[in-house]
Every structure is written in C-alpha cells, then in structure tokens.
Assembly symmetry: C2
Homo-oligomer: 428 residues x 2
C-alpha cells in the first residue's frame, strides 16, 4: 500500500544533486514530487520531478515515454511505487545514473511550472472542524456546528476552469454586494476578499459510474497532495449563497501549488485517526482498521503575507497563521473518497478534491482572515505598521507546507502564491 515505508524513505539517502542534501531543502531525495514544466512559452509541458534546486525531466531520463501527466497519474499503485523506486535509485549518490541523467536536469530557476495536470472536476470539502465551528459561530452563536457535520463529510462542487498554478495573479472580483442596511444590492469590487488555507487531493485512478469505492481501496485512487488556496469574496458570498451554496464568491480564482507530493512520499507522516470522546463513530462505509490506524497525515501549514508596501520596502513576507492538517481535519482523505462515491459518482483521473479551510483550534491559527479577524471586526497586525481585516490590492498570499517526523528526512510542498490585482472597471 501507498502508506508503506521502504528504502526510498531512508533518511540516510543522499543525492548527487547537491542542493537536495542541504538542511531545510523542501525537495530532498525522500520527497520526489511530480509537476509539469517548460523552459519556454512555446514549448509543450513536460513531466518533471523536483530534486533540490533542479527538475528532473522524466522523459529525457528515459523513465517514461509520454508527456501526459494524467496518464502517469493513472498508474496502478505497484507501478507508481516502481517508478518512485527507479527515480530514487537513479538520483542516489553513487548510483549508476549520475552521468546519463545530468543532461535531464533543468534548473528550477529556468523552469516555468504549469498546473500539475489537466483538472477535470473540482470538489471542495469542509473538513476543518475548527473552521466550520468558527464560521458557524459568526452566523449561529449558540449552535455553530450543524447536526449533519459529524456524520457527513460536507462538500460541494467548485469550478475547475479558474484554478491557476502558483504565481498567476488575479483580479479582485466584481459582484453584487448588499449590506444589511441597504435596500438594494450594488455592483462593486468585493471589499471582503479572503484566502483559504487548504490542501488539494489529486485523483489518479478513476472509478466507473455506479460503482462506489470502498474505504479500504480509497487511497489506491489518490495520487497525491498539493497546497490549495480557495480565494473567497465574503461579501458576494453572504448575499448569493442561499439556498444553493457559494458560487461567484469562489469561482473567480483558486490557486494550487505546482508540485504533487505523492501518497508514497507521505508514508512516514501518517498518523492514527480518531475522534474526541463523545463524538459518534463514523458510519461503516467511512470506517476501517487501516483508516483508524493511519488515516491522518501530519502536515504543518503556514500562510505568509507580503503587502505592496512591504514589497516596495524590500521586507520579506510574514507568517500570519500556522496550522496542521491532521489536527485541523475531522475526516481523512480515504473517507472523502469513499463518501464522494457512495452514491455511484465517478471520480475521474485528474480530479481535485479540496479539503476546505484547515484552521487550528486556537483562533490565532485559523486558515482565513474571516476567522482571524472575527468576521472583519478585529484587524490583525501585519509586519511593522500595517493591519488587515481583508486583503487589499497588491497583497501577496503564499501557502507553505512541511512534513516532519523524528527519524525521517523533512519534506516540503513548495509554494502556493498569488497576488491580488485591482478589479476590472464596473462597466467592463
């Protein structure tokens, strides 16, 4: 299974790509995430694996014969592990491939990264229980969590066409806004633009329509994880979302990091999955011994903000919140896959599942400004002399993720970053 620890996770492994061996490098030989890159805008996307400060071109290295990432993601679990083992062996210091693979390396500084694959359908879940509780409190102080929350992994469909790779900036959305005291709505740029700290789950192997995936088989269908920012316009959302859920408040842009960290790479960072005492047990289709033993994944998450003024002054981005996937999530990835397909829904190769906002239990570790500022009422301090309730034009948000465990090499997710550009004119 993908959660098995093998020789590719050996912390003593070193690569002949020197930068991969440096302390703090996010892409040591134990990681080996997959992405799509090109060296010029008129070239096709190629499949690469991050190693240190380099990208290994898998086709030039003779490991695959096509540039089709979605096809690679469909590999059976055993073939995925074989490919990982071959890449690991070839990049290992003292291995036989150093001479031949040198020419298959492209420096990251010369590689433009694309979306990691063609994304089919995109579903966003809501598994951050501290987030659901905090947001629920803003609307229903006495009854923040709805009765279905601990039974149903709540999710809804999102829009795939506006998911961008890290580094692509986007315009502040226009939309209908209506303040509580206004008689009628107006059309204006959102004044409550927010980020959402999430992880994205990429589906590798599809299931046929009408055939649910059991929780036991769920992770065979998952290729890996990336960082995901589900930008949200809270004022558009408040006016539009009843009765069918968020729509234009979300679909103007989302940002995903370019590297998919595979389930195999995450094997050392699995954790037991449990629930607070007193909570109901998951229904049988959402429960299994393996899920209880190691359904959770331990990923430290961080959100960095750099304002336009900080950028002009040459001030580095500052962390505004930190949380952890396993602590924040009420459901596991295997549970999401089993739930999504219990009705016969087909998950397709390249589909993306967002986790929903991964807020920590402490309000200062929330994964959105909505929570960090108590619904926009209490600004947070940013850097030396600025503050924010919601995002301003020119603000850059970057998500980061790291996995750490005693006795294993630390791995990272890279960066999920974008900058808010001014809105289009209302008459556009």
């Amino acid at each position: 299974v993908s959660s098995a620890i093998d020789e590719t996770h050996d912390p003593a492994l070193q690569s002949w790509v020197d930068a991969a061996n440096h302390d703090g490098c996010e892409f040591p030989i134990q990681n080996l995430p997959f992405g799509r890159f090109r060296e010029a805008a008129d070239m096709d996307w190629r499949i690469g694996v991050a190693i240190g400060d380099q990208v290994l071109d898998l086709r030039r290295a003779g490991l695959i014969d096509s540039h089709d990432m979605n096809r690679l993601m469909r590999l059976l679990p055993a073939a995925r592990r074989d490919l990982r083992a071959a890449i690991s062996a070839g990049l290992s210091r003292g291995g036989a491939k150093e001479a031949s693979w040198r020419s298959a390396l492209v420096p990251m500084s010369r590689a433009e990264m694309g979306l990691p694959c063609m994304i089919g359908d995109y579903t966003d879940f809501y598994i951050g229980i501290h987030h659901a509780t905090a947001v629920g409190k803003l609307f229903r102080p006495d009854n923040p969590l709805l009765p279905n929350y601990k039974w149903v992994p709540i999710g809804y469909h999102g829009r795939a066409s506006t998911i961008n790779v890290s580094g692509r900036d986007f315009r502040r959305p226009l939309g209908q806004l209506k303040s509580a005291d206004a008689a009628v709505p107006e059309v204006a740029p959102s004044r409550r633009l927010d980020f959402e700290l999430e992880l994205g789950v990429f589906i590798g192997r599809p299931n046929p329509q009408g055939q649910p995936i059991t929780i036991e088989n769920a992770e065979d269908h998952v290729f890996g994880l990336a960082l995901f920012n589900d930008w949200s316009a809270r004022d558009i959302q408040a006016w539009e979302y009843q009765p069918l859920g968020p729509f234009l408040s979300k679909n103007f842009a989302s940002t995903v990091s370019p590297w998919i960290v595979t389930m195999e790479a995450l094997a050392p960072f699995r954790r037991a999955y449990g629930r607070p005492s007193g909570d109901p047990a998951p229904l049988p289709y959402l429960d299994s011994p393996a899920n209880r033993a190691q359904g959770a994944i331990d990923v430290d998450l961080e959100v960095l903000l750099q304002t336009a003024r900080m950028r002009e002054a040459g001030t580095a981005p500052v962390a505004i919140t930190r949380s952890n996937f396993a602590d924040a999530a009420y459901w596991t990835i295997a549970q999401l896959v089993a739930h999504h397909t219990i009705n016969g829904c087909s998950l397709m190769n390249g589909d993306l599942l967002g986790t929903g906002t991964l807020s920590g239990a402490d309000p200062a570790t929330a994964g959105s400004l909505l929570e960090l500022t108590s619904g926009g009422k209490s600004p947070i301090k940013v850097g030396r002399d600025e503050q924010r309730t919601f995002l301003e034009d020119g603000d850059t948000i970057a998500l980061r993720g790291r996995c750490r465990r005693e006795g294993f090499r630390e791995i990272g997710f890279g960066e999920c970053r974008a900058t808010v550009l001014p809105a289009a004119s209302v008459s556009a």
Copy 2:
C-alpha cells in the same frame, strides 16, 4: 446576431430527405441540430446534423475537416451562420448536393449518439421562479422566495463527470438518509428519487479569466440548447445540503439529449423578456434593450413516464407534466452568461449551464415530482392503475421539447431519456 431570421427559417423550404418534410417531424430542414454519433462501438465519434430520420455526416459531406465538436462550437457567430446556410442549401430539395451527400447520410436507427461534446464545467442555475417558490414553500410557507432571488440569478456548480447522454440508464443512489424522527442517519438506497425538467445551455466561445462578458455579447458565447434532466435524491439532499448546497443528492447522474439545437435555429421563437409589475428592474449588467426585446425563448416542454409495468404491458409512456421555458424562467440565457462572468470567471468551450427546474405557474405543470406530489404527500395517478410519489426502479423518464410559432415550421429537441436501475448493494 444569432437571433436574426434568414432564408434557413423559411417555412416553405423542403429537403430531399423525405422524412424531414413530414408533419410533426422534429428535425425538418429548418432545425439542423448538431450531435456526435458513431455506427459501431469501436469507431470514433463523428459530427452529425439531424435531418428527418437521417444523420448527415458533416465531414463526409465535405463541410468540416475534423471530428472535434468542441472546435466546431468555438466558431465565430458569422462562421456558424455560414455553416448553417451551407447545410441548409445542400439539404434543400432541388439543391446541387443531393447526389453527392446521399452517401454522407446515416439512418438514425443505425447511429449511436454520444454526449454532444466534451463537457468541461457544469453549472446549474435556479431560474424557474415557480419551482423556487414551490420548493421554498415546503420549507418556509410564509416566505418562499428568498430576498436575493429577484436580484441574483441563483446558481451553483455541478459535476460534469456523471452527465450521461440520453439512453444511458443509471442506478438508484445509495446515501445517508435521516428521517426527522430518527436519532442517527442510515445508509440506504434513496427513497425519494426525482427528476428535474431543465434545459441545458452549451457554451461555444470562451472568455479569458478576469474579463466579464457583457450582456450585449453574451449570446455570441452560446452555441445552443438541449434537454437536461438533473436527477435528484430528495432525502439525501435534505440531510446533506446545509450549509454548502446539494452534492451527492445530485452528482450520481444527469442526462442530456444528444442534439444541440443552435441559437440560430431558435431565432423564430424568441420572445420579449419582462417582469411582473412591482418586481425590481435587473441591475444594469443584467439588462439591455435586446434582452428586453427578445431575451426569452419559447420552448414547450413535456415529461413522459413509463413504468416497468407499462413497458411489460406494451403501454406507451404518458405525459405527467407540461411547461414552457419562457413562462417558467425568471432570467434569460444572456443574463446567466453575464452574471456567471461578472466576477471574472471564465466560461470554457463545452461548458454546460443548466437552467434549473422549469415548472409552470400551475402546480399541475411543475417540473419535478417533489412539487407535483406536494413534497411526497399527494401521489399522482400514472396511467390506468398506478400512482407515484417518487420514482421506482424500472421507471423511465423522457423529456421532450418543441418550438412552435404561427408562420414558421415547428422544430423539436429529440429525447432526453433514462431508466432507474436498482441500487447497488449497500456493502458494494
């Protein structure tokens, strides 16, 4: 513009394909809808136009040089009109193409129809005001329509991977159900399975992310319409949908008819768009003189049911409800496109927009069983001796649509049909 009437709409036009000239034929030479077909399961999909009881293979007729329907749908409006004019001229009785195009015809009885194109993202709207009112009444008798309804064309994202072409049956979904008096939910086949009578709007030309489409240009981006059934499990929906909207209650299956009736074919059936006096005027981005003059489209709709018992007895399907698109819809297609993109959201080639359930004002003309049976309380009579509150295994639902106007030839949409199969076993 696509709503202009020209020589292709001349009711006197006849085709050398005899069946196209018969009274009541849905595909006379004035229609010319586009679809994808093949003659055997191991052949590629080809692009065809329906004419009488035949399909004209556009590539064999020398009209196009690829089998890519999505590419055809991207044509600029002027090129779309030119293609329609060429097909119309070639199929006209007395035209020069009869001899050469005979061999480009395939009998419909030998053509397997596929999804009309590769569908990217799917959005479902909620523009049937009588439906929204009736469903709202079930939950909020005193206040059925929410305050945003007459300002915001309410919509949400759906799932594209489970949209099937007419004729593909599907299993009754399993899911979490919780009755009001139960302490905990159970997992079981839905007991409140319903249809939804909708039209689907296919997007032809995309817009770049960040660039809204104005209402004046909106219809240039629309290729045409098809019938659409958004199957719904009301019991799954009731338990799951708070706070983010419908999810597994909808995404197990949707059904679309195989022929896209183009905006050009619909030109004679345009109608003025207005609102009841006292309702607010649409905001400026949702309003234009052309939209007021002819934003609506007059399509008669019908839902047919054939139960398993009727099928065994050789009894024909019976109509259980009838409505009309223009009467049912509170918003126009141009308004949906302008609204969907006001925030910079990109619509892509092949995207599908559902209208939402198109119920008539009279409760007997509602577009779902939820409404026809007052929330499952009052069964409807079906045929001679059966009744239904919700759908049973073996029930076949077929949607039909026709456009009629004095002085013009009647055109039809074909059929959008599927049968409910028994659920998978719970342990599946």
